[in-house]
């Protein structure tokens, strides 16, 4: 059997207050395995603001700077400025925020930090809604999903707006590195984090983070859901390095229904609505492939 490349050392202690099957637990675990002990994590309001445990306990082996909901980008800029003026080097500064804290309320501060080329890795763990407050829609909730504020009801009032494409938003900031990662592919995950660590500037990581309570998903199936998200092209694994798009896992291109049917949040969708999702996913996938081809042909930054 091939030896795994995942570092053995753990930086998350037992005691996280995350729900059973929480994807965000694994996101933090793999992230810290990739980065090691010389890391400071700044966390705004989100599930991970409570998951390290009540004061004075802390289930992480690295220091945490908690910050206000919309302030992660500013906090990591302030941390880096302080370390720089103090001459403290070789410290990974990580902003670790949920999707609401990134694509909605925290977008401005993150945009600022990216524009200022803050030396940091910003990780958005995407559970596709405001899960810590109890499953309210966010700008990152996908089209068709049930949440408590898109409650379907008798009027078919699910989320009728598309998910914000945060990777494209960050791509437009011309940052040196952006990548999507999945808890179903820890080796790819860790490789990308280690790559980000070696690149100077602002790096963005979009981590798919299945949420059993919010997705109405069996807690035993969260890794499976993450795997199917990749296989169905709902959540493609790719990276954008200095503008160059590279798909890191093609996936089998399974029908999206394989992914959707695991989750109660999509159970109200009709077949025609599911095929609408399929068409949108297919179009996005083709676009991504074209981007990859274009980057290869144009020799961007080679």
């Amino acid at each position: 059997m091939a030896k795994t490349t995942i570092p053995e050392e753990e930086f998350t202690y037992p005691g996280s207050t995350g729900c059973p099957g929480c994807g965000a637990n694994l996101v933090m675990r793999y992230l810290l395995k990739a980065l090691g002990e010389r890391t400071i994590v700044s966390i705004p309001a989100c599930c991970w603001a409570v998951m390290p445990g009540y004061w004075p306990s802390n289930c992480l082996k690295v220091p945490i700077l908690y910050t206000a909901f919309e302030a992660t980008g500013a906090a990591i800029s302030g941390l880096r400025a302080a370390l720089d003026i103090k001459g403290i080097k070789d410290v990974n500064i990580v902003g670790f925020a949920g999707d609401g804290g990134t694509v909605d309320i925290g977008l401005q501060a993150m945009s600022g930090a990216a524009e200022r080329r803050t030396e940091a890795i910003y990780v958005m763990y995407d559970n596709e809604a405001y899960m810590n407050t109890g499953i309210q829609r966010s700008g990152s909730t996908p089209w068709g999903a049930w949440t408590t504020t898109t409650p379907v009801g008798t009027t078919h009032d699910f989320k009728h707006e598309a998910k914000k494409d945060i990777m494209a938003i960050m791509q437009a900031h011309r940052i040196p590195y952006a990548a999507t990662v999945s808890i179903a592919h820890p080796e790819d995950f860790i490789k990308k984090i280690q790559k980000a660590k070696g690149i100077r500037g602002f790096k963005f990581i979009h981590a798919m983070s299945p949420c059993p309570p919010g997705w109405r998903l069996n807690p035993m199936l969260s890794v499976e859901a993450a795997r199917l998200a990749v296989e169905t092209h709902m959540f493609p694994l790719y990276e954008i390095e200095h503008g160059r798009v590279r798909i890191t896992r093609k996936g089998k291109g399974l029908p999206v229904s394989e992914y959707l049917k695991l989750q109660g949040r999509f159970s109200h969708l009709s077949e025609s609505e599911i095929s609408e999702i399929q068409s949108a996913v297919d179009a996005s996938w083709r676009y991504l492939e074209e981007e990859e081809k274009y980057a290869a042909q144009a020799g961007i930054n080679e």
Binding site: L60, G78, A81
Partner: protein
């Protein structure tokens, strides 16, 4: 130099290490000057050009948590945008020092002075110093770092300069020697800071059986700030030969029958009026609230028990109540066995001039009210359509 340059020099002399700021009228020349100091190497600091005031304060919080001395400056809408993170700074017990160029809130738009922005932050856990002169702005920034960074206090401070009246008006200001400031103000060395190898959480979740103790300790810090302000000012005086009046500056209050209490630059005008009235034999005095937080309750009680009338001139208004200083003053006096007659004057909002003539009329009104009792507790001064007070 202008009040804004005095602020910039105060931050430079205090050797601020991280400055995160966002431009807003009339604060801009503070951060422009600091950016210049950094760019010429005169100040060894990181200047973080953030994209909002909320981020300015959030970045200062992060930098201060990592052990850097931080400074920022803002005004009006910028300050009120910071409101959430102002509470974060004090809750996290971070001795950040900030200048607020006090300016009216919109709508209607106004870039001119009043204290609404600062007063609206009174419950955020910041020490608040209202300044009367540009020299005081510079000196108070240096003193504020020393006050706030002491172990018993560990709270942030807001240095308030009046928009344009101080921020853009030049006065002679003595710039102290860097060496003297260095010996007065040692480098920031907090007991706790965020650093690798020490896996602590800063700002963790606490349960109801622990939260109150954190707040109680912050309250003790603010309480300790009272004596610390006085002690640091005495030390400052020994080194630099200047003082600015502690928490409550009293001007010619000895044997005064009535005293006007106010804050900010208008106190300078009021002192002139006191001089001229005193020269005519009218026993009046001026009290200037220098520290609004912590509020000088004891000093006001001592003053209140020996005067017959105490007028309070607020440059802001708390809707549904009165001027905030007036409410505080009345609260101070309530348990005094001997209380003066009090009356509140609201004046100078949105940069309206408060002239010597107005202050003279206020003094006359206090005298009148003291003799025959109160008619109305709160009066708006120099407002069109109010015949009694319209100039």
């Amino acid at each position: 130099m202008t009040g804004n340059y005095a602020s910039a020099y105060g931050a430079k002399l205090s050797r601020a290490e991280v400055i995160a700021a966002y431009p807003i009228t009339p604060q801009t020349s503070i951060v422009e000057k600091l950016a210049e100091f950094v760019s010429t190497g005169e100040l060894n600091a990181k200047f973080v050009p953030v994209e909002s005031e909320h981020s300015a304060m959030a970045a200062c919080i992060a930098a201060e948590t990592a052990g850097a001395r931080t400074y920022t400056a803002t005004s009006s809408h910028g300050l009120t945008l910071m409101h959430e993170v102002l509470m974060w700074a004090s809750g996290a017990r971070l001795p950040i020092v900030m200048t607020n160029v006090s300016r009216a809130m919109a709508p209607p738009w106004s870039v001119w002075v009043d204290h609404m922005d600062s007063i609206a932050q009174r419950d955020t856990g910041w020490l608040q110093f209202f300044c009367q002169s540009n020299q005081e702005v510079l000196d108070t920034i240096i003193m504020a770092y020393k006050i706030c960074e002491s172990k018993g206090v560990m709270l942030p401070a807001m240095i308030i300069e009046d928009a344009f009246i101080l921020s853009h008006t030049s006065e002679p200001v003595d710039i102290p020697d860097q060496e003297m400031v260095d010996s007065f103000l040692p480098a920031y060395a907090p007991e706790f800071k965020i650093e690798v190898g020490k896996p602590m959480g800063f700002g963790s979740l606490v349960k109801p059986d622990q939260y109150m103790e954190f707040r109680y300790k912050a309250m003790l810090g603010m309480k300790a700030a009272h004596d610390r302000i006085l002690r640091v000012e005495q030390e400052f005086k020994q080194v630099f030969g200047r003082e600015h009046g502690g928490l409550l500056e009293l001007y010619r209050c000895e044997n005064a029958e009535v005293v006007l209490l106010t804050a900010g630059s208008v106190a300078a005008t009021a002192k002139d009026v006191v001089d001229s009235m005193r020269s005519k034999g009218v026993p009046v005095g001026l009290a200037r609230v220098r520290a609004f937080r912590p509020f000088p309750h004891d000093e006001i009680r001592a003053l209140g028990s020996r005067v017959a009338g105490l007028g309070v001139l607020d440059r802001s208004y708390t809707f549904g109540a009165a001027g905030a200083m007036f409410s505080e003053v009345k609260a101070s006096l309530y348990n005094c066995p001997k209380r003066p007659v009090t009356k509140n004057y609201i004046a100078g909002l949105g940069g309206r001039d408060i002239t010597p003539k107005t202050i003279e009329r206020v003094f006359e009104d206090i005298q009148l009210v003291t003799k025959r009792g109160e008619e109305s507790e709160v009066e708006w001064v120099d407002v069109a359509g109010l015949p009694r007070w319209w100039r």
